[in-house]
Symmetry: C2
């Protein structure tokens, strides 16, 4: 029996906060002591060749994406990126590859004021493996957490969903290429400015890295609530909207690699959410409501509803 | 031409300190803002199957060692471990393996008050890859750095050197097994208490992970000094002392995996260094002197000296 990724983590690597660690595990970031009035939000992600990216990926895009997935976690907590650490395992020391990879990483780091503060480079007999730990600053007590959704809150999403999965189908020859969807897959833009603008406005947030159903499911479980998702309201790109309905649902709900923010806010905050989106230059769309009943109901345009399993993309599933 | 690991890092991934990052790269740890009067020391290391450990390694020992190499970097800065983040890539979800690995990691973490605060677990089509980022606390301005060695300082080392490399020869069938040397390879004890006790006493420090010549070479380069190393004074285990002279030198100077501290202190601090060693329960031995001339001179018992290249174990060398 294959164990789910999250079950694995929870079973063997859980820890309780203590000392200078205010929040450990179970959210997009941990929270550590900073100075007076602020905390460090810290996240660690690993990208593995053949699992998270294809061997022939453009190394500059890979450098961008490897940092972007971490900055997206900081964004989901409302933290401002400050520092990152890179551990990199490579089959060989290829100057051109390294130059392009570091250009992509440095460009995104600089755009967000994030200093590459250290790391480790080593040889790998297998493929490329990239592990980045990123640290951001957030006012004490202001971090957006998964656990804050309340019954009656609106459910919101930034940008549009499903292009990451669609881009992967294009890259592997299973869908006709579309430059915008490929760019969404290969150069995701972490919603850092939006996350910061949502501090004090949103009640909970998560970034969509494993598909909307699974990631929203984490918010619902952590908050002890359910949600009703209005399928017609979910923003999709022109390329995805042109695909058949089943593919659209798969890409949005179980796809992953979107790096948009899904968040909740009370109906009284609708104007504040719109202002946050405008300030950050990102579209924000209301896609549902938080409900008392647990589970995730998908409301279809014909009036039917479906109870969808909150099943994230599972790295260990057969 | 193969590029050295350190050349690679320096060329592509250098960064200048800025904002909340007080020290970026070039030392065992980076230094980030903490609260009033203290800083976070942060280090990231990656261990790759087939490069840093053998496929049949005891997973409990591996969990210990993966954290130990990071805590050793914190020790070299004089920092007290507080939190760590684990990114783990695995070919399959093996419950028994994971249980043993996490036991080894948690036991060492708890022994040092270090909270496993988060991480990432993913599938890997290749072997096991482990990336840990560890954070420790150090009083502001008190971190032991590589750059502080001064001409006339004594050169010191903790414990004894060369057993890590000797243990690897044993494990691969190239030397008769010795339990103590194998334990040194597989369950190194990071010198955390010693590093803390040396704050305000030592002028510079580094941990020996890639062999004495290379690691001491980093201190000499960062401090702009040279050293004269008294070979007869270098502490070696009984198992290593029983080996032939050439093997002893290779294991000590170019071996790696010792995780002892090499540090400098003025001759006026000899008693303070001895007290620090006693307080930490670790032997400390004077093995040489810091000199104005650059380079590393090995002084042999017969009065001869050798200029030894400061060449660390190179992960990309053929």
């Amino acid at each position: 029996m294959a164990l789910g990724e999250f079950a694995l983590i929870a079973r063997h690597f859980s820890a309780a906060p203590a000392g200078r660690v205010a929040l450990a595990g179970g959210d997009d970031c941990a929270l550590l002591d900073g100075g007076d009035g602020w905390q460090w939000a810290v996240t660690a992600d690993m990208l593995v060749e053949g699992v998270h990216f294809l061997p022939d990926v453009d190394p500059e895009a890979l450098g961008h994406k490897a940092l972007a997935v971490n900055l997206s976690d900081l964004a989901a907590c409302g933290a401002a990126p400050r520092a990152c650490f890179l551990a990199l395992a490579l089959p060989r020391a290829d100057e051109a590859w390294l130059g392009a990879f570091s250009r992509g990483l440095h460009a995104l780091a600089e755009a967000h004021g994030c200093v590459l503060a250290g790391g480790d480079t080593t040889r790998s007999p297998g493929g490329v493996t990239i592990a980045i730990t990123a640290l951001g600053e957030v006012p004490r007590g202001a971090a957006l957490l998964r656990s804050g959704a309340r019954v009656g809150d609106d459910l919101w999403v930034s940008g549009h969903l499903g292009d990451g999965a669609l881009g992967l189908l294009m890259r592997t020859g299973h869908a006709p290429a579309d430059a915008a969807a490929l760019a969404r897959l290969e150069r995701p833009q972490p919603r850092v400015a939006l996350g910061r603008a949502l501090r004090g406005v949103a009640t909970s947030a998560i970034d969509v890295s494993d598909g909307l159903a699974g990631d929203l499911g984490h918010v619902l479980a952590a908050s002890g609530v359910g949600a009703r998702l209005d399928w017609a309201a979910v923003p999709r790109s022109a390329a995805l909207a042109a695909c058949d309905e089943a593919l659209q649902r798969r890409c949005v709900l179980a796809g992953g690699d979107d790096y948009e923010l899904v968040f909740t806010a009370p109906p009284t905050a609708r104007e504040a959410v719109s202002r946050a989106g405008a300030a950050a230059g990102v579209a924000v769309t209301r896609i549902g409501t938080i409900t008392p009943a647990s589970g995730l109901l998908l409301a279809l345009p014909d009036g039917a509803t479906m109870d969808i399993a909150a099943r994230a993309f599972d790295h260990f599933a057969p």
